[in-house]
């Protein structure tokens, strides 16, 4: 009955009770805000047009037909040129557009680097900048996803007709 009578009392005034009330309010408030914000986030995820689903696999070539340390250029359906490099560890797909001013880089098989002719930018075989303006900017060549299935190499990318 003691508990029940508390129900009907007015707001407590002693400092300990005030602090307890404040803490419980903060706890409740944060819980409500965080959970509902998360729910709202899920709602936005639902409503926001998703492009991830439009990714599809594109056949680019066969492992056995690409020598290690070499690269070849794949013309993607969207018009992008993508360099596929065979490294010792696997394959990597890099855009051929220099992040500096948009010139086309090319692969140099002798030392396994990419070179941008416009301002002498150099990238290593992973697309990381070595020297020239790209290194100053700290900008790497954009990467694409590669998937292999047995001997077959696929690119995974968004395709727009």
């Amino acid at each position: 009955m003691d508990k029940k009578s508390k129900f009907n009392t007015e707001t407590p005034t002693d400092p300990a009770s005030t602090r307890r009330e404040f803490m419980s309010n903060v706890f409740m408030g944060s819980g409500l805000v965080v959970s509902h914000l998360f729910a709202a986030g899920l709602g936005i995820r639902y409503l926001y047009p998703s492009e991830k689903d439009a990714k599809q696999r594109l056949f680019v070539g066969l492992k056995s037909e690409i020598a290690p340390g070499t690269a070849f250029t794949y013309q993607a359906p969207g018009g992008q040129s993508i360099n596929i490099v065979r490294q010792t560890t696997g394959f990597i797909a890099l855009s051929d557009v220099c992040p500096h001013l948009g010139c086309r880089v090319h692969f140099e098989p002798s030392n396994g680097t990419f070179i941008c002719p416009c301002h002498d930018g150099h990238f290593d075989a992973n697309g990381s900048p070595i020297s020239g303006p790209p290194a100053e900017m700290g900008a790497a060549l954009p990467k694409y996803d590669i998937v292999t299935d047995g001997d077959i190499i696929y690119l995974e990318m968004v395709v727009k007709s």
Binding site: S5, S35, L42
Partner: protein
């Protein structure tokens, strides 16, 4: 301070008076969970509005694309399965809680003078909720939904005098056709929500003006204060229930996401057609009583249900005793039995 004053002069609402109004005392019996059923449908209605609105972003109310758009929501749109599942489960729970709330009000006699009008609003809200469920189910455009709609509109057809016209109006033609789905859609997202808002406002307004019926129980201490504050005490109780509901429907939504059965085929009636569970009793009654008798009895029963406070008064005058509880028990058991019967039938 000047900013506050600027706001206050443009938005002249006195917060103190709102809080004061919210702090109005409510009777102690509301501390019992059983008396919190009325808030739950309102809460669920808000969830329905939110999930319904965002479902409408992808749903296409057109016979040739409706099913595909639901399939897209279920399988393609990120989290679409969840939103659809929430909408479905929350709808089912809303029907359950509305029925429970109605039963509570009925058996405690809270519909009596001067609250007859509020019973009527509540009864209409229950009927609207059922129509909500029916139209929503039809929008999925599954085989069962389609044939459910066919049976229901043909049922309306048999109502004496006006039946044909009502059925024709609902269907948008003499047969289920391209306009039927559009009509169901407009009912579901436009007319019914508006009606709910209107009746719900009236319902709450009535509760506020009359106050709730006060009830006393034996285990109460008569020396204790007879009331407690609506805010924050009762609001917090409702909040507990609300978040509990959110957890419950989110959980069932993940565990039992709604499936998508075969697409509606106007040429093939499925072997076993069944409505949603809340129409089982009407469906079974239809099988027992025959078409015309069932439609007439159901119509009559609905009318008695809506105008029960007056029926109650008349009955008491005639039989010289209160028949609410025995009649209520008979009705509930009858409906329950018919529902179970239909559920057991394959």
């Amino acid at each position: 301070m000047t900013a506050m004053e600027w706001v206050k002069s443009r938005f002249p609402v006195d917060q103190q008076s709102i809080i004061l109004r919210l702090q109005e005392p409510v009777p102690n019996h509301l501390k019992r969970w059983w008396w919190c059923l009325g808030g739950m449908p309102a809460y669920l209605f808000i969830i329905q509005v939110i999930t319904g609105v965002i479902l409408a972003f992808y749903y296409v109310p057109e016979p040739s694309r409706a099913y595909e758009s639901v399939a897209r929501i279920s399988h393609e749109i990120p989290l679409g399965w969840w939103v659809r599942s929430l909408h479905k489960w929350s709808a089912n729970l809303m029907i359950v809680t509305v029925i429970l709330h109605t039963m509570r009000v009925f058996f405690t006699g809270a519909f009596r003078a001067p609250r007859e009008l509020n019973w009527i609003f509540g009864a209409l809200l229950l009927i609207i909720t059922l129509v909500f469920g029916f139209t929503g189910y039809s929008l999925v455009y599954e085989q069962l939904a389609y044939w459910g709609a066919t049976v229901a509109t043909n049922l309306a057809d048999t109502v004496p005098l006006v039946g044909t016209y009502i059925a024709r109006f609902i269907r948008g033609g003499s047969e289920i056709g391209p306009d039927t789905l559009t009509r169901f859609f407009v009912f579901h997202i436009g007319i019914l929500p508006t009606l709910v808002l209107v009746f719900l406002s009236l319902h709450i307004l009535m509760v506020r003006t009359h106050g709730v019926t006060e009830l006393h129980f034996e285990d109460e201490d008569p020396k204790e204060k007879q009331t407690f504050r609506f805010y924050p005490d009762h609001i917090l109780t409702e909040l507990m229930i609300g978040v509990g509901l959110l957890i419950a429907i989110s959980a069932v939504a993940v565990i039992w996401p709604p499936e998508l059965s075969e697409k509606a085929n106007p040429l093939v009636t499925p072997a076993h057609i069944k409505p949603e569970w809340y129409f089982y009793f009407t469906f079974r009654w239809l099988k027992i009583a025959g078409l015309n008798a069932a439609v007439l009895t159901l119509g009559l029963a609905s009318a008695i249900f809506v105008f029960w406070p007056f029926a109650d008064k008349a009955l008491t005058r005639v039989f010289k005793r209160d028949l609410t509880v025995p009649l209520g028990i008979v009705a509930v058991l009858g409906i329950f039995a018919l529902t179970i019967w239909e559920a057991m039938a394959h």
